[in-house]
């Protein structure tokens, strides 16, 4: 699967191009239209990377940062692609500070423990996104970036500060864990 086909290909209409220009010039209403158009994409990404609790606040952070950085958007990529990449940077930075704040270990300890349980009895079965959220941070992040968002291992390795080999291993472990949750 070509990674590019998974990136949020721009729906770059003339209207969006105009709104980007207006927003870059400080037009908050134009920026709100951009926000509406890309909200589901950004919020879903935030939910998958950070979980429900932090997703909404992080989504706001993403759009505030986008507003501040619009002046650096040169238009060589589609706005949606630019926003998406910016969102990932903000979300990953937020994840890092969050885990520091909470003293959490960003690793894959307890993975088997946490993500398994489900494949057994039907009433305990989690849906796919639920199981995804239960994955340990490292495995979940790699899985979301690779299989949901379409990045390559070397890109993910750079984003997460791990080796490409680790990225591959985490992806495999995440996929193995998620096999039992395809029904939901």
């Amino acid at each position: 699967m070509d990674a590019l086909t998974r990136r949020p290909v721009s729906t770059a209409s003339d209207a969006e191009t105009a709104d980007v220009a207006l927003a870059a010039a400080g037009d908050a209403r134009a920026f709100e239209r951009l926000y509406r158009a890309h909200l589901a994409r950004v919020n879903s990404l935030a939910r998958r990377i950070l979980g429900f609790d932090d997703a909404d606040e992080a989504t706001q952070d993403v759009f505030v940062r986008a507003w501040e950085k619009l002046g650096t958007f040169r238009g060589e990529a589609a706005f949606g692609t630019w926003l998406h990449r910016l969102a990932i940077n903000v979300l990953l930075a937020s994840r890092t500070s969050r885990s520091k704040r909470e003293g959490r270990f960003v690793g894959d300890e307890g993975m088997e423990h946490r993500a398994k349980g489900a494949s057994g009895s039907p009433e305990l079965r989690m849906d796919f996104e639920g199981a995804l959220r239960k994955l340990p941070d490292g495995a979940r992040e790699v899985f979301v970036l690779h299989d949901v968002e379409g990045f390559k291992h070397r890109e993910i390795a750079e984003m997460l500060g791990v080796t490409a080999g680790t990225s591959k291993a985490q992806l495999h472990r995440a996929r193995m864990s998620l096999r039992g949750h395809l029904a939901g």
């Binding site: 699967m1 998974r6 870059a24 010039a25 400080g26 037009d27 908050a28 209403r29 920026f31 709100e32 926000y35 509406r36 909200l39 589901a40 994409r41 919020n43 879903s44 998958r48 997703a55 909404d56 989504t59 706001q60 759009f63 505030v64 507003w67 501040e68 002046g71 796919f128 996104e129 899985f143 299989d147 949901v148 379409g150 291992h153 591959k168 992806l171 495999h172 996929r175 193995m176 998620l178 096999r179 395809l182």
Partner: protein
Amino acid sequence: MTDEWTSQLSEYLDGDLQVDQAQLLEAHLATCEACTTTLDELRAVQERAASLEDSEPSRDLWSGIATRIRAAHTGETPVVDIESRRPRRRFAFTATQLLAAAATLVVTAVGSTMLATRSESPSPGAATVIPVGIAASDASYDTAVDELVHALDEHRSQLDSATIVVLEQSLATIDQAIAEAVQALREEPNDQFLNSHLAHTKRQKLELLAQAVTLATAAS
């Protein structure tokens, strides 16, 4: 069920294995039902991930964003947070505020026109209204406007062309509104609404000029 080949299945699926490794794995797959099943499941997970639906949050997030970006779209006191914005966007940002001011003024001007052409009958409360002394405040007002216009001319080059266009359109609208209010007041000098309308419009002109001067001088 896993064996020593299982760990290579994801890489195989992604086409990341070396050719010789892939060939060895394929030979194993031909004989191992468990690995073949696992490979199918991993492929299904991958396909599922690629088809996840996005959804919007359950609560409104825009108001919090709007507050934080200090968008003055509610028409309240314009905020010019110069320090927080990069210089190259500073003046473009103000164009929006001036546009917002202009939009307010268009409404004002329309109201004025409607007043000027309305029925001849005097308003019921006209006799009890204390006229707002336009003439009394004119001198200081005109001086203030003159000073601001002068200051603005000096720093005009600090504003970008889009802002100047908006500013000039706004001032033209405001001047027209003032002229119409003055004209209407000649016919109904004691009309409270007309008087307060004129005072309000003149104050808006002052505020608009003051704002433009602040922005222009902040840039120099």
